[in-house]
Amino acid sequence: MRVTLKIWRQAGPSAAGSFSTYSVDDVKDEMSFLEVLDVLNERLTEAGEEPVAFDSDCREGICGTCGLMINGQAHGPQRGTATCQLHMRTFKDGDEITVEPWKVASFPIMRDLIVNRAPLDAIVEAGGFISADTGGAPDANLIPIPKPVADAAMDAAACIGCGACVAACPNGAGQLFTSAKLAHLNLLPQGQAQRWDRTERMVETMELFFGSCTNHGECQEACPKEISIDFIALMNRDYVRSKVKNRKLIGQSFP
């Protein structure tokens, strides 16, 4: 099949950008969306035009490096699928496809389709960890964790940090990412000691960079790991509680 790609080109962080239109023939159903960009880039290079810069790495939907707005949808039309796992059988011959980077003020465009997602790391740095220095850990089976708890923590921990939730949100909010990171740690017994500090710090760091959540739910729709917005509710509850918690009594109140 043949597709027309309308791609955002921008030479650098401070350069003005614009759309360029390219047509790619001989696209096959089995090709992934990023492989079409690979083919395009190879042809552009041979024709002497600079290739389109885009990020990707594992191409198995787990590293979170890739991420494009495809026809205005973060990661494209297929549910629960990262850009790298999107295949061309989702499209049809003659389609015109608009390809843009994540369009959020918090993720400045570096070049073409590449953005800077450093604020996501900043949120983790603010408290997204359980302090357990190497060497001091007790036996792994010392604290039993009920299966539903471990499973829920794993559901949250499945987040790949791609930033699609932010890109899909009309407000550019970082709630789904932050709440997934928080829920992973806050649900586990090991995460209780730092729970309230962690929640305060991560939420307040998030607010330095991102917009506010107004419950549109677009983040959940766009998430390639289908992470639930229920975690946002948990985060909001924990944030309120963190403000009234007497931390000296944490040991007495298993949540």
Binding site: E46, A53, D55, F129, T134, P146, A157
Partner: protein, 640 residues
Amino acid sequence: MVLELDSKSPKGDIKDRWDNHRFDMKLVNPNNKRKFDVLVVGTGLAGAAAAASLAQLGYKVKAFTFHDSPRRAHSIAAQGGINAAKNYKNDGDSIYRLFYDTVKGGDFRARESNVYRLAQVSVNIIDQCVAQGVPFAREYGGLLDNRSFGGAQVSRTFYARGQTGQQLLIGAYHALMEQVSKGTVELYTKTELLDVVVKDGVCCGIVTRDLSTGEVRSFNGHAVLLCTGGYSNAFYLSTNAMNCNVTAAWRAHRKGAAFANPCYTQIHPTCIPASDEFQSKLTLMSESLRNDGRIWVPKGFDDNRPADQIPEGERDYYLERKYPAFGNLVPRDVASRNAKTVVDEGRGVGPLKNGVFLDFSDAINRLGEDVVKERYGNLFDMYERITGENPYKVPMRIYPATHYTMGGLWVDYNLMTTIPGLYALGEANFSDHGANRLGASALMQGLADGYFVAPYTIGDYLSKLLGQPPVPVTDPAFAEAEAGLRDEISMWMNVGGTKSVDHYHRELGKIVWDRIGMARDKNGLEKAIAEIPVLREEFRKNVRVLGTPEGINQSLEKVMRVDDFFELAELMARDALHREESCGGHFRVEHQDEEGEAQRDDENFSYVAAWEWKGRGVPQELNKEPLDFEYVHPAKRSYK
């Protein structure tokens, strides 16, 4: 032989070696640790774990990753699990058994002392990860669940759904980010190592390129840790991520670090075959599928009928036919080689005739679709997403692909390379797995090196440097390395050729796959040694890198990586040619018995081949570290 390959392996009872060694090593007192700068390159399992642990101890750490976040390292893609000798299942596991299985699984080509230590610290890894909040799978009682994996008769594999690597890496990443928040680790993202700086024979720093701005910059330190992964992408198509490369290890090799056993590469039998010329990478499907799937190809050549129209009598279930005892569950290398044989014969299936069927129709008839779905549902979904075929209705198509490299930088028991002050951890080094890695052992080794080995052994080296400031970055050694890199960059920018970097990477990959792949012979290897330099010459004259060296330039990033793959591929071929035996992932067609089983030659090849750089265009020189087996006595691996 020029290099002195002293393994520094401790003597005595193997059970006490690591403990005794830890006591014998010198310590750095807590107040002196902050006087030492340590550079950690790579933030996968080994790198993130080492950077976090060293910073916790009090060293001044700088961590480098070429990704935009440390969490994106390729460790994240590991699916299956991590081994540990916890014996939580009461099924007879022990540190000694894990040690034994690993030495045997590695086909008796690993150092016993290292492997024993790996098995010892495996138990600490699980404790550490649970304390960090890694959500391992649990049973209803709340205790940790385990599953079994290839090459072992016990259940010792811990897992987090099909995303174990992701969860372990996130644990290490969290620990790293905590240290970043405390200011004990300075984190440099989008920063790629492009040279290792050596002064008076000692490693004193690195030269990097900022992938966002193009800035070339030097960093100095008392020790440098390379945690930069393996080199499967020399094959172009592999299960590795797009950006995985050998550049850091290779450039260290060029500065004097010996490169060991480059021909030990592992091919995974169950990957989704390439669908077209422009396929960018291959996707692995869990090996567990072979428990219920039956592998077959048509008996006839060039059979174009759909699978369901090929009658039972015209199908060749070749593994069941040749290996009646193990059938479809033969080990990875045997399954892979046999798939290659039938495809090479012209009996491959699929549009490109490059796969074999993995058929679940018997299992569905026997167990019902629901049971099959419960066991493999997520894998079937993944397969359907990629191929558009429903594996409940038509057989899957699979083919082997490269996914791990056992070879790497030679290191001693302390994980130090042949350059003092330069260490290699994780897949980047050659240790522990011998000629073949067992499933669920890569994650174990990366974290063992990072959390529990390097943090001790580096102290011993640094203690001797107390009072010595690091070599300043204004030293001529740095200026020379920076100038060399700037010249190299400008050389690539000015080739003015016509073909893309990917074009040449693909062409190189074809040679590597055809001649240094699953089955190797003298003729093919000699051809590879002749063909690779010719292609490389063309590449260097005719590759086209557009744009500028400033700012993001992905072609420039790739061209240097591919150039290093060319040199590595040649060494892989020479190593494979010299090793006149079959062992683990290295199968020489000339060395098999009448039944096609690998024939090892312990008398002549029970050594580590450590190759020493002799300059551009000059073949590396072979150095040998003999391997002694005091505990696990070499025996033939048999699967009949």
